[in-house]
C-alpha cells in the first residue's frame, strides 16, 4: 500500500510539474509574440514622429568688422560654418562659440564688391561670386588646415560677363566640357563657358532674345538647361547645345517670386510666391520642353522668404515673413511648422548637408544655430497608402522603388503594390492548395483503403520536408519556361481534368462486374492516377496542334497581341503553383488527422441507420472535423502570406498592381529579404520594411482571428459528441 501511495505522490508531482512546464511554454509563446510585435512597433514608431527643432547656441557675427554676409554655409555636426562678405572676406568659424578659425580674403579688382555668391551643385566646395562690375570669380575654400589658402580653379582673374552692370543673379555648373557661368543684371543676361585646358572663356550666343529683367538664375546640374526667373515671377527654361542657348516656352507668371531652390537630383525647382506658399516645378528633360507645376505647398499667407534645399532628400527648409520655420518634404507633401523661430526675419538661412543643423544670420549682427531632428519626413500616411505623383510622372500612382544605389533619387515607398502582390500570391496558392489538401484529406481519411493509406499519407507528408528554396529554384528555372512553352496545354489540362475523371468513373461503372471486381476495392482510387497522367500528356501533346490552328502558332503571343493580356514568364500562376505545392502537405496532414480521428461510433452509427458513405461524410464527419479543417486552412493561409523564398525566386519581383495572373508580383516578404541588407540601419527604408512586416503580421491576425473564433465556436458545439 505504501508503494502505491508513493507512486501516487510521484505521479501527482509529475503531473504538477508537467502542467507548470506546459503553462510556461504556452505563456512563453505568447510573450515571445508580444515581444516581436513590440520590437516591430519600436522600429516603426520613429517613422510617424514629428520633426523637432531645438536652439543650440547663439553668438555675435564672427569677424563682424568685415561686414554682413552675402553667403552663408553650415557644416554637419561639430563642423562650423562659412560666410563670405561683400568686401571679399571669407570667414571660417567654429560652430560651438563662433571663434574665427580662418580669415581669408578674395582677390577682388579695385572698387568691386561682391553682389552674389552661389554654390556649384556639381562640384561640392566650389563657389562663384558675382561682382558689382559685372564679372564673376570662381573659387574654392579648402577644408584643410589653417595654412591652406583659397584656390582659384579657373585662375584668379575674374571673368567679365556683363558690361559694367552689377551681377544680381548668378549661376554656375561644372561639367565635362567646362564651367558654365550665367549672369544677369541691369536687364541683360550673359553666359560663358570656361574651358580648363587651355584656359579660355567662350561667350554663348542666344538663338532668341533672352527675357528681360531676370532676377534669378538656376543652372540645372549637367549644364544643358538653365532656368531664368524674371521679376514677374515667370520661369523661363533655356536649353543649351554647345555654345548656343535657346529659350523654351516658360511657366506662367503674374505672381512675384520671393525665393527659389533646386532640389537634389536637378530635376525639380521650388519657387516661393510672395502671396504665400510654394510650387514645385518639374524641369524639362530630354525632348520635353514645357515646364510643369507638379506640387503646391500651402504654408499660409505669409510668404516664404528664405529657402534652403536639403542635399540628400527631396525637401527644403524655409523661413517665412512671420519668422516661422517650415520643414517641407516634397515627396510626401508634408509640411511641418515651428512658430516664431526668430523675432526678426533672418538675412540668411543655411542648412547643413545632413539636414541636422540650421544656421541663421540676423541683420543685427547675431548668428544662431538650431538642431533639426527630422528623421523620416518622406513617410506619411498618404505616401504609404495613397497615390503620389513622383518626379517624372504624368500622373499619381502607386510605386515601390525605395532605393536606387545612387544620389539624388526620390524614394518611392508605397506599400500598396507589396500588399497587393502578397495577397495575389496567397490567393492563387490557396485556390490551388485548399481544395487539393482538404479534398485529399477527405478521401484519404474516409474513402481510402487502409493499406494504401499507409503509403500515401507519409508520402504526402514527406513533401513538407522539401526546402522552399529548392521549390522556388525549380519553379523559376524549370516550371516557368515549361509553362510558357506549353501554356495552352496546361490551361486545357487545368480546366478539363474533372471531365476526364468523371469520364473514367463512368467508364468504370459501365464495365462488366467480372472485370471490375478483379481489382481490390482500395486500389480503385489509384486508377485515377494513370488516367489523369494520360489525360495531361494528351493535352500537352494536342496543344501545339490547337495552337497552330487557332492561335497563330504561339498562344502566349496571341494572348498579349490579340487579347491584350500581358504575359510574363515569371508570373503569379507559377508562384501560385509552387506555393500551393508547398502548402498542401501542411493542410493535408492536419485535416486528415482530424477527419481520421472522428469517433468511429458516430460514423458507424450513421452507416447503420442507413446513411450512404457520402451522406455520412457531409452530415457527420465534416461538421465534427470542421474546427480542425479551419485551423488547417488558417495555417495554410498564414504560410502563404509569409513565404519568402518561393516568391523571391519565381515571381520576378515586379511591383505591379495587376489582377492579371500572367503578370509578376512583388510580395512583402521577398522585398524584406532583398532590401534589408542594403538599407541603412535606422534609416527610412529600413523602418518602412519593418512597417511592411508589421502590416503582414496584421493581415495574418486579421485573417486568423475570425477563423479562430469560428473554430472555437464549432468546437464547443461538437464537444459533447
Amino acid at each position: 500500500m505504501s508503494s502505491g501511495g508513493r507512486g501516487q505522490r510521484v505521479s501527482a508531482v509529475v503531473d504538477r510539474v508537467a502542467a507548470g512546464v506546459i503553462r510556461a511554454g504556452g505563456l512563453g509563446v505568447i510573450l515571445a509574440l508580444l515581444l516581436i510585435i513590440l520590437y516591430l512597433l519600436f522600429q516603426v514608431a520613429p517613422l510617424f514622429r514629428s520633426a523637432a527643432v531645438d536652439p543650440l547656441v547663439e553668438y555675435a557675427l564672427p569677424a563682424a568688422d568685415r561686414g554682413p554676409s552675402v553667403y552663408l554655409a553650415a557644416g554637419d555636426g561639430a563642423d562650423g560654418g562659412l560666410r563670405v562678405t561683400a568686401s571679399g572676406g571669407v570667414v571660417v568659424f567654429s560652430g560651438r562659440d563662433g571663434a574665427v578659425r580662418r580669415l581669408l580674403s578674395l582677390d577682388l579688382p579695385a572698387r568691386a564688391a561682391i553682389e552674389r555668391v552661389v554654390a556649384d551643385s556639381s562640384r561640392p566646395g566650389r563657389l562663384a561670386a558675382g561682382l558689382s562690375d559685372g564679372s564673376a570669380i570662381v573659387f574654392e575654400v579648402p577644408d584643410g588646415g589653417a595654412e591652406e589658402a583659397i584656390t582659384y580653379p579657373l585662375g584668379p582673374a575674374p571673368f567679365p560677363l556683363l558690361d559694367g552692370a552689377p551681377l544680381r543673379a548668378l549661376g554656375i555648373d561644372s561639367g565635362d566640357d567646362g564651367v558654365l557661368l550665367v549672369g544677369a543684371g541691369g536687364g541683360a543676361v550673359a553666359a560663358a563657358l570656361v574651358a580648363d585646358a587651355p584656359r579660355r572663356m567662350q561667350r554663348l550666343s542666344w538663338d532668341a532674345p533672352p527675357p528681360a529683367a531676370v532676377s534669378g538664375v538656376v543652372v540645372v546640374p549637367g549644364g544643358q538647361r538653365l532656368m531664368l526667373l524674371d521679376a514677374d515671377g515667370a520661369l523661363h527654361p533655356v536649353a543649351r547645345s554647345g555654345r548656343r542657348l535657346a529659350p523654351l516656352p516658360g511657366g506662367p507668371g503674374g505672381r512675384a517670386v520671393t525665393a527659389m531652390a533646386l532640389l537634389p537630383g536637378g530635376r525639380s525647382l521650388v519657387t516661393a510666391w510672395a502671396s504665400g506658399g510654394a510650387t514645385q516645378w518639374q524641369l524639362p528633360g530630354g525632348e520635353a520642353a514645357a515646364l510643369k507645376a507638379v506640387r503646391t505647398f500651402d504654408s499660409g499667407p505669409q510668404p516664404l522668404l528664405l529657402l534652403a534645399a536639403e542635399q540628400h532628400r527631396q525637401g527644403f527648409a524655409a523661413i517665412d515673413a512671420g519668422g516661422a520655420l517650415w520643414l517641407v518634404n516634397a515627396t510626401s507633401q508634408h509640411l511641418w511648422q515651428q512658430r516664431a523661430l526668430a523675432a526678426a526675419t533672418p538675412l540668411h538661412l543655411a542648412l547643413s548637408a545632413d539636414a541636422g543643423r540650421l544656421l541663421l544670420e540676423f541683420g543685427d549682427g547675431r548668428m544662431a544655430w538650431w538642431r533639426v531632428a527630422n528623421a523620416h519626413p518622406e513617410v506619411s500616411w498618404r505616401s504609404l497608402w495613397g497615390r503620389v505623383a513622383y518626379e517624372d510622372d504624368a500622373q499619381a500612382r502607386f510605386s515601390w522603388q525605395p532605393a536606387a544605389s545612387g544620389d539624388g533619387f526620390e524614394p518611392k515607398m508605397s506599400l500598396v503594390p507589396l500588399v497587393f502582390g502578397t495577397l495575389k500570391a496567397a490567393f492563387v496558392a490557396l485556390l490551388l492548395a485548399l481544395p487539393l489538401g482538404v479534398g485529399g484529406a477527405i478521401y484519404t481519411a474516409h474513402f481510402m483503403d487502409p493499406g494504401v493509406r499507409r503509403y500515401v499519407k507519409p508520402m504526402v507528408e514527406l513533401m513538407e520536408a522539401l526546402p522552399t528554396v529548392i521549390l522556388g529554384f525549380v519553379a523559376a528555372l524549370w516550371l516557368a519556361p515549361l509553362l510558357e512553352a506549353n501554356l495552352l496545354g496546361a490551361l486545357l489540362a487545368a480546366l478539363l481534368w474533372p471531365l476526364a475523371v468523371l469520364g473514367a468513373a463512368a467508364a468504370w461503372h459501365a464495365l462488366p462486374p467480372a472485370l471490375s471486381q478483379r481489382l481490390p476495392t482500395g486500389l480503385q482510387g489509384v486508377l485515377v492516377v494513370p488516367v489523369l497522367a494520360a489525360f495531361f500528356a494528351g493535352c500537352f501533346r494536342c496543344a501545339p496542334l490547337l495552337e497552330s490552328t487557332w492561335f497563330g502558332g504561339d498562344f502566349t503571343l496571341w494572348l498579349s497581341r490579340d487579347l491584350g493580356v500581358a504575359f510574363q514568364q515569371r508570373n503569379a500562376l507559377v508562384v501560385g503553383v509552387a506555393l500551393g505545392f508547398a502548402i498542401v502537405p501542411s493542410i493535408f496532414s492536419i485535416a486528415e488527422d482530424a477527419l481520421f480521428s472522428v469517433p468511429p461510433h458516430l460514423t458507424q452509427g450513421a452507416l447503420a441507420l442507413g446513411a450512404r458513405p457520402w451522406q455520412t461524410l457531409v452530415g457527420v464527419v465534416l461538421p465534427i472535423a470542421s474546427p480542425a479543417i479551419l485551423s488547417a486552412a488558417m495555417i495554410g493561409c498564414g504560410r502563404a502570406l509569409g513565404e519568402t523564398m518561393i516568391v523571391l525566386m519565381a515571381s520576378g519581383n515586379t511591383p505591379l498592381l495587376d489582377v492579371n495572373l500572367f503578370e509578376g508580383l512583388r510580395s512583402v516578404a521577398a522585398s524584406v529579404a532583398m532590401e534589408v541588407p542594403e538599407a541603412e540601419l535606422g534609416g527610412t527604408h529600413y523602418r518602412v520594411l519593418f512597417l511592411s512586416g508589421l502590416v503582414l503580421l496584421g493581415f495574418t491576425l486579421l485573417c486568423n482571428t475570425p477563423a479562430e473564433l469560428l473554430r472555437q465556436r464549432m468546437r464547443r458545439r461538437y464537444r459533447s459528441l
Binding site: 545632413d354 504575359f567 514568364q569 505591379l656 542594403e678 541603412e680
Partner: protein, 352 residues
Amino acid sequence: MPRGPAHACHRRRLWPARLRALALRSSCLLAAMPVMLPGWPGSGAAWADAAIEPVAAGAARYTPVSGVAGNLSSVGSDTMANLMALWSERFQRIYPGVNLQMQAAGSSTAPPALTQGTADIGPMSRPMTASERLAFERHHGYPPLELVVAVDAIALYVNEYNPLEGISLAQVDAMFSRSRRCGAPAALHYWSELGLSGIWQRRPIALYGRSSASGTYGYFRQRVLCGGDFRSSLNELPGSSSVAQAVAASLNGVGYAGMGYAMAGVRALPVRQAASGEYVAATVGNVQAGRYPLTRYLHIYLNRRPGKALAPVEAEFLRFVLSSSGQRLVVKEGYIPLAADMARRQLRELGP
C-alpha cells in the same frame, strides 16, 4: 540575409574557363614532352601564359610575408562574388591560417556592413554614393578607403535566337526606363519596334535586371537611364548569373549583367553610344581600348583609420589582389585587369 538565393543561383562560370585552361595545360604537357627544343612553335607553357603575361607585365609580383592569419569577412557585390572566391582561395593557399567569409548579396549591402563593422572589406561594383559615404563618416569620423581592383563591362544580353544586330544606348533607355531621361522620343515595348520582323512582330520585350541592392543596377541606372527610374515590369533577380539564365530561358528576354556572365543560350548585343555609327561588341579588346561605352571599375572599400595601419590580413589581401597574381585571376574570371600604373597607384594608396 539572402545568402541562399545568391549562392543557389550562382552558376560557377569557372567551368568553361577552367575546362579550357585544363585542356590547354594537359595538351601543353603532352606537347612539351617530346618537344623540348626552344623555338618550337606552340611549345606548351609559353603559349598558354603568353596571353596573360603582357597583361601582368609591369604589375608587382606578390611576396608573401609572415604572421598573416585570422578572419577576414567580406560583404558586398554579387558581380565580384566569383572573383572574390578565386582570390580568397589562392590567398588561403598562400596563408593557410586565414579564414575568409564571404557574403555577396549586392553592392549596396557593403556600406552598411562597413559602417556597422560587420565586414572588414566591402567589394562594390559601383562607387559609394555621397549619402553612404556620409553615413560611414558620421559613424567613424573619417571617410572609407576606396581602392580600384579591376575593370568590368556591362553587357546587354539577349536570347541566342534574337537576330538583332546592335542597339544604341538611347534605345536601351527607351526599353528599360519609365522616364526616358536620356532623350528617347517614345517608349519601346515590342521587338518589332527595334526593326525585327517575322516571329518578332509585336512580340513584347521581357526585361530582366538586378535588384536595387546591386551595384550593377546602380551603374546601369546612372549611365544608361541617365538617372531615371526602371519600369515596374522589370523582373528583379538576385544575381547576375540568374539574369543570364533567365534571358537564356526566355525568347523575348533582354537583360544586363557583367561581361563575364555570358553563357550558352545568350549573346551580348553590340552597343553604340550615339544614334548612328558603328556598333561596338563587348570584348576584352574593345573594353581595354576604351571603345565600349559601358565600362566600369570594380572597387573594394576598407575601413582604415587615418594614421593607423590596416590589419595585416586586410593589407596583405589587397596587396595580393593588386599584384600580378591577383590580376591574373581577374583575367581568368573574364574581367579586365588594371593597367600597371593604376595598380601601382592603388598600392601606394594602400600604404606601406
